[in-house]
């Protein structure tokens, strides 16, 4: 304690220490290890060897799995849009109109987390099944083709991803909407803005940090997801996450898996940087959450 009193400058360092130790041991070190293994050649049985000449691991992986990358981006993008379409009105309602029901509704938003991710996704097999609660009555009423199905289609994968990540969109948007001083909306109306005008000029810009945070929290895990494609899709809906999972755990082709992971990470970082630039971030990220 005496040392802290004599050197108050140490306090921030001490506060950073646990997080720093954690990140270095479980993020930085594994990433370096993975980066190294992406330049390996060989097999698990014969042993791996490192060489920078193995950069072809990257080009090979990209050539082989570009379709999965493209699909991941498409699915992630579609799921993020769906999440936004669901989350914004809901967050708006909870923040502005729900009154005393607010906490109860927020609890309901996070309630699905009490059930395992895997179980919930399997649950969607039942919901989207061929004679399910959705398709069953529609088919019985003759409204859709009896052969129609949701399950094992891209639609099912995207719906599953959107369902699983929508709370991550709702919460940050809710937080940024909830923080808006209601008097600002009165001020806007006082200055001749209609309700829609006040929404567009005041509410929406002030909700941008939440929208930014929410779409990142949705898009980033969505693009790397493999559970939904595995459980709700078919062999033609595999995403890059599925490939990485299979390379690492089934085929044991660590170099290819590592290269794929690295490219995915770079892709996401580049996307985030671009997105941030478009929305004018510094301020946004600092105000988000």
């Amino acid at each position: 304690m005496g040392m802290i009193r004599r050197h108050p400058a140490l306090v921030p360092l001490l506060l950073l220490l646990p997080g720093l130790v954690w990140l270095v041991s479980f993020y930085l070190a594994p990433n370096i290890q993975m980066f190294a293994s992406s330049f390996w050649s060989g097999t698990l049985e014969s042993g791996f060897s490192f060489s920078f000449s193995n950069w072809t691991n990257y080009t090979d992986a990209l050539g082989k799995y570009q379709q999965q990358y493209a699909r991941s981006i498409q699915y992630g993008f579609a799921a993020t849009l769906i999440c936004f379409a669901i989350a914004f009105p809901l967050a708006y309602f909870i923040a502005f109109k729900a009154g005393r029901a607010r906490s109860a509704l927020l609890f309901l938003v996070v309630a699905p987390f009490f059930t395992s991710y895997l179980l919930r996704t399997i649950g969607w097999r039942t919901i989207l099944g061929d004679d399910s609660i959705i398709l069953g009555p529609l088919k019985a009423a003759g409204l859709v083709d009896p052969a129609a199905r949701f399950l094992d289609t891209p639609f099912a994968v995207i719906a599953g991803i959107a369902y699983n990540f929508v709370p991550f969109m709702i919460l940050p948007i809710y937080v940024s909407l909830e923080k808006i001083d209601r008097r600002l909306l009165e001020a806007a109306q006082d200055l001749y803005a209609t309700s829609w005008g006040a929404f567009r000029r005041v509410t929406l810009p002030l909700a941008m940090p939440g929208i930014f945070a929410g779409s990142l929290l949705t898009f980033i895990p969505a693009i790397g997801d493999f559970i939904n494609a595995e459980l709700l899709g078919n062999p033609n809906t595999t995403m890059v996450g599925n490939v990485i999972q299979r390379q690492f755990l089934v085929d044991r082709d660590y170099p290819t898996a590592a290269a794929l992971s690295f490219m995915l990470m770079v892709l996401i970082l580049a996307g985030v940087a671009l997105y941030g630039r478009l929305l004018g971030t510094d301020e946004l990220t600092s105000k988000a959450i």
Partner: protein
């Protein structure tokens, strides 16, 4: 009775305006006229309905019953954005995501003003509140006083018929508050727009207003200029809320041209009937500075009461005494410190004194308002 000058042009008229929130009556059948170019103040303690009244004029609340007219047009149910009225909000409510320039330009842009005219009018408003050079900042970079000026510019730039101000100085420190008060009055004279000002600070109200409505429990108890309010408060509430008062309560009577009040001690004080109606349970009042302290036994014409000095406080301009009389009477007396440098024999606690004042220097409050 109060004589309100008949005004040439009425800007805002409230007729029997009532606002209820559930069962609670916030504003109770208020009727008043505010004339063109007037600095009009709604003064009262928190919860008296002054802010609700202002919000109804602004269009943020709708009256439960009654009529609100703006320049002779019924606006009772018109939304805020269609009223030729702008508001300076209590906490300023500046848009945090917009620059000062865009904050001020907000209303003009919504009314379709752009290009050179927009630039010119924003510039003029910035000049009026002396904030030239701050256009590119954002509200978070301003001090309280500067934010207050921006809020004012943002409202005034639209040249509304009426400007509503909801305790605009409440968040500032005392010195800045006084400075901004003078500034507000200057701006109001310069632009000639009708100001309706809400405050709980009687000093603020007195320095700036042409007329003041003193509100209590959803109604106003007296509507008059600052001088009348102070010299001739007509209810106990107004006498207590605007400045300090000594109210002499007792048995009310009449003697020729005077009202009389017989105090519990048996002493009788009087006030001319021309000061107002005392009713059957009113009181005679007198402001602390109208009282003179004499040594016990000295004779004086007018009202006299006997007492003992129990407390003195030196306040710079004045010295304030608390004098206790018979029957639990406590009076506040203030004396100007004119002779202070040459005279050290001020009144001390324990000294027996006689209090005196001219009957016409008192005031008369009527029966308690039926609440």
């Amino acid at each position: 009775m109060e004589v309100t000058p008949r005004v040439a042009e009425v800007d805002v008229r409230l007729v029997n305006v009532t606002k209820k929130f559930g069962d609670a009556i916030a504003v109770d059948a208020i009727t008043l006229d505010v004339s063109d170019g007037e600095f009009f103040t709604l003064l009262g303690p928190s919860g008296c309905g002054k802010t609700t009244t202002l919000r109804m004029i602004g269009g943020f609340e709708q009256p439960t019953s009654g009529l609100i007219e703006l320049k002779g047009v019924d606006v009772t149910f018109l939304p805020a954005y269609e009223r030729d009225v702008n508001t300076v909000f209590q906490s300023y409510a500046l848009f945090p995501h917009l620059t000062i320039y865009e904050n001020v330009a907000f209303g003009l842009r919504r009314s379709g003003i752009k290009g050179d005219e927009l630039k010119r009018r924003v510039g003029e408003a910035m000049e009026l509140v002396q904030l030239i050079g701050y256009e590119k900042r954002v509200p978070a970079q301003l001090s309280g006083g500067q934010a207050q000026r921006v809020a004012l510019a943002r409202a005034l730039v639209n040249e509304p018929a009426v400007l509503l101000l909801d305790e605009p100085l409440g968040a500032l420190d005392l010195k800045l508050r006084k400075q901004m008060g003078i500034e507000l009055k200057r701006i109001q004279r310069e632009v000639g727009i009708t100001f309706i000002y809400v405050t709980h600070d009687q000093e603020e109200a007195m320095t700036m207003s042409d007329r003041i409505a003193v509100m209590n429990k959803g109604r106003y108890e007296q509507l008059a200029g600052p001088e009348t309010l102070y010299e001739r408060p007509s209810t106990r509430f107004v006498a207590g809320f605007v400045g300090a008062s000594n109210l002499l309560e007792g048995k009310v009577g009449s003697d020729g041209d005077d009202w009389t009040v017989t105090l519990p001690s048996g002493a009788v004080v009087r006030a001319p009937k021309s000061l107002g109606d005392i009713g059957s349970s009113g009181a005679i009042g007198v402001r602390p500075e109208k009282l003179t302290l004499l040594e016990r036994g000295q004779q004086s014409k007018g009202n006299t009461l006997e007492g003992t000095v129990v407390d003195t406080s030196y306040l710079g301009v004045i010295t304030q005494y608390v004098v206790e009389g018979k029957g639990g009477l406590r009076l506040l007396v203030s004396e100007q410190n004119i002779d202070r440098t040459t005279r050290s024999d001020t009144w001390r606690p324990g000294e027996q004194v006689t209090l005196t004042w001219k009957p016409e220097h008192g005031f008369v409050v009527g029966d308690a308002a039926s609440a």
